[in-house]
C-alpha cells in the first residue's frame, strides 16, 4: 500500500504519493460529494415571462463565469426556409435569434403570467441554456430556479418537468426572496449603518407576467408573507393597446410596438401629456398623443401594488414595521416606470404610514433574481439539493 501525506480536507481525489511504499499505511479518503471527475457548475436562473436571466459560476468562488439574458421565446423554423437564412441552418432557434427571424419561424412564448405555458418549448429552451453554460455537455449543473411567489404546485411541477434530464440538481425558490438575496450587498453585512434587506424589507418585483410582493424578515417567507398577481408589464401593454385602438382605431399598432412605447415612456402619477409619438404605419408617418393612455395603464398597476403592499404591511410584526417601511425595494422591469418610487412613497405617506422610503433596485434589475439564485446555490448544503427525475 502506498502512503499519502495529503491533508484529509483536500478536494483532490487522487492524493500524491510522497514516499516509497511502506506497509500498514492508509489512503486518504476523497471528500464526499465529489466522487466523480465531473466539474460542477452552479446556476441562478430567473425564468421570466418575457426574458430569462442566467448567471453561472463555479462552486468554490464568487466569480460569475456566465451572465446572459435570453428572451423566453423559441422559434421552430418553418418548412422550406432556404439555407443561409436561419443562423446555423438550425431547426430550432432561441431568444434574440428567434425574435429577429420571427417571420421564418413559429414563435412560441414558453412562459405566460410567470409560469410555464408550453412545456416542450421550455424544455428546448432549458437545453439551449445548458449548451450556453456547458458547451461540452459533461459538467454537473445545479440550478436554483426562481418561481413566482405562491406559485401553485402544478407550476412548480412543470418547472421540474422542464429541467428533468437537463439539470442535475435543482432548488426552486420564490423570486422575491431571490431578489432580496441578489440586492443584498454582501460586503456591507454587519456594518452598523446597513440594513440587510434579508432581515427586514418589503420586496416588490414587477415583471412581465406577474407582480410579486414579499416580506423578507430574517426567516424564509411563508405563503402569507407573499402576494402575487398577474397584472404586470404584459397587462400594461394590453391595457395600452385597448386604449390606443379606441382612440386611433385604424392605427394597427402591434403588441411589440406598444411594448417598445411603454418601455420608453412609462410613468405613474399625474398626467404627463402630451407625449407625442411618431409611428410609421403602412409606410406613412402618423402622430399619436399617448400621454393619458400610458399613464392610465401604468397607474392601474400602481393601484394594485399599493393594495398588496398595504396587506403585507398589515401582516408584519408591529415592532418591525417602522424599519420595514424604510426598506421598500422595487425591482424587475416595472422598476423602470418613471416616478414609481416617488408615487408609491407619496401614496403610502398619504395613507398615514410613518416615513416610508421606497427605492428602486437599480440598473441591474434584470439580474437580481438570478444573482440571488447563484448566491443561494453557493450557500446551499448538499442535502438541500433536489433531484429531478426524467
Amino acid at each position: 500500500m502506498s502512503p499519502t501525506d495529503t491533508a484529509v480536507a483536500s478536494t483532490t481525489t487522487h492524493a500524491p504519493n510522497a514516499a516509497p511504499a511502506k506497509a500498514q499505511s492508509t489512503p486518504t479518503p476523497p471528500p464526499l460529494g465529489r466522487r466523480t471527475d465531473r466539474k460542477t457548475i452552479l446556476l441562478g436562473l430567473d425564468l421570466g415571462t418575457n426574458k430569462c436571466c442566467l448567471i453561472a459560476g463555479g462552486p468554490d468562488s464568487t466569480d460569475i463565469a456566465i451572465a446572459k439574458i435570453v428572451p423566453s421565446v423559441v422559434g421552430y423554423v418553418k418548412p422550406g426556409i432556404i439555407n443561409g437564412i436561419i443562423p446555423g441552418n438550425a431547426d430550432v432557434i432561441f431568444g434574440e435569434d428567434a425574435l429577429k427571424n420571427r417571420l421564418h419561424v413559429n414563435l412560441v412564448h414558453a412562459l405566460a403570467d410567470g409560469v410555464i405555458a408550453h412545456l416542450d418549448a421550455t424544455r428546448d429552451l432549458m437545453r439551449h441554456m445548458r449548451r450556453i453554460i456547458d458547451p461540452a455537455g459533461n459538467s454537473e449543473i445545479r440550478a436554483v430556479i426562481g418561481v413566482p411567489a405562491n406559485a401553485p404546485q402544478e407550476a412548480r411541477d412543470n418547472v421540474r418537468r422542464a429541467v428533468a434530464g437537463v439539470f442535475d440538481r435543482v432548488l426552486l425558490i420564490p423570486e422575491p426572496f431571490l431578489a432580496a438575496l441578489g440586492v443584498r450587498d454582501d460586503a456591507r453585512i454587519g456594518q452598523s449603518n446597513y440594513v440587510d434587506p434579508v432581515t427586514n424589507a418589503l420586496f416588490i418585483d414587477i415583471g412581465a407576467g406577474t407582480t410579486d410582493l414579499c416580506l423578507v424578515q430574517g426567516y424564509f417567507p411563508t405563503a402569507d408573507d407573499q402576494v402575487s398577481f398577474a397584472f404586470a408589464g404584459d397587462a400594461i401593454d394590453h391595457a395600452m393597446l385597448e386604449s390606443i385602438n379606441q382612440l386611433y382605431p385604424d392605427c394597427g399598432l402591434s403588441r411589440l410596438k406598444v411594448r417598445e412605447i411603454k418601455e420608453q415612456h412609462a410613468y405613474v402619477g399625474a398626467s404627463r401629456k402630451p407625449i407625442d409619438l411618431k409611428v410609421v404605419l403602412g409606410g406613412k408617418a402618423r402622430n399619436l398623443e399617448l400621454g393619458d393612455v400610458i399613464g392610465s395603464a401604468c397607474n392601474q398597476l400602481l393601484d394594485r401594488v399599493i393594495d398588496a403592499a398595504r396587506r403585507l404591511i398589515a401582516r408584519a410584526a408591529s415592532d418591525s414595521v417602522e424599519q420595514l417601511l424604510q426598506n421598500i425595494i422595487v425591482t424587475g422591469g416595472g422598476s423602470q416606470i418613471r416616478g414609481l418610487d416617488t408615487e408609491l412613497q407619496k401614496r403610502l405617506l398619504a395613507d398615514g404610514y410613518e416615513n416610508p422610503k421606497v427605492r428602486l433596485a437599480g440598473q441591474d434589475y434584470q439580474r437580481y433574481v438570478a444573482l440571488g439564485g447563484i448566491k443561494a446555490a453557493r450557500a446551499a448544503r448538499e442535502h438541500q439539493w433536489q433531484y429531478v427525475l426524467d
Binding site: T26, P27, L32, I173, T222, A317
Partner: protein, 136 residues
C-alpha cells in the same frame, strides 16, 4: 489478506461512509469529512491494510457514497408515491401549518436583527414544503 479480514475491512469502511453520509445529510459537511478522515484509516489500520491499495479503497468510498445517495433518492420517491396513493385522512380544519400564524404570534415574533445564513433559510423553506406536502 484473508477473505474474512478483507470482508471486515469492507464492512467497516462502508459503515464509516454511511455514518459520514448521514452527517452530511443533516447539514454537517465538516463533521462528515472529519468522521471519514478519522474512521476509515482506523478501520484499515485495525484490519491490517496490507494488500489493499489506495485505488481500491477510493473505489469503495465512491461505491458506498453512491449507494447512500441512491437510498436517499429511493426514500424520497417512496415518500412521494405514498403521498399520492394513500387517500388523504379527513381534516378537521383546512389549516396550512405555520403558514398563517395568528396576529398574536406574528406580533410576538421579534424583528430579526442578525443576518441569517442563507443555508439556514433554505432549511426553513424545505421544512415548509414538507409540511405543505404532508398536509395536502
Amino acid at each position: 489478506m484473508e477473505t474474512t479480514a478483507r470482508d471486515r475491512m469492507r464492512r467497516g469502511v462502508r459503515a464509516a461512509v454511511y455514518r459520514a453520509c448521514w452527517r452530511r445529510l443533516e447539514g454537517d459537511e465538516p463533521g462528515a469529512q472529519a468522521l471519514l478522515a478519522c474512521e476509515v484509516p482506523a478501520v484499515l489500520s485495525h484490519e491490517g491494510a496490507s494488500g489493499v491499495d489506495d485505488e481500491l479503497v477510493r473505489a469503495w468510498l465512491d461505491e458506498d457514497t453512491a449507494d447512500f445517495d441512491r437510498a436517499v433518492l429511493i426514500s424520497e420517491l417512496i415518500t412521494r408515491r405514498g403521498a399520492s396513493v394513500v387517500p388523504p385522512t379527513p381534516r378537521v380544519a383546512a389549516v396550512r401549518p405555520q403558514a398563517s400564524a395568528s396576529s398574536e404570534e406574528r406580533a410576538s415574533r421579534p424583528a430579526s436583527v442578525a443576518s441569517p445564513a442563507i443555508a439556514d433559510l433554505l432549511d426553513g423553506m424545505l421544512a415548509q414544503e414538507r409540511r405543505v406536502r404532508a398536509a395536502s
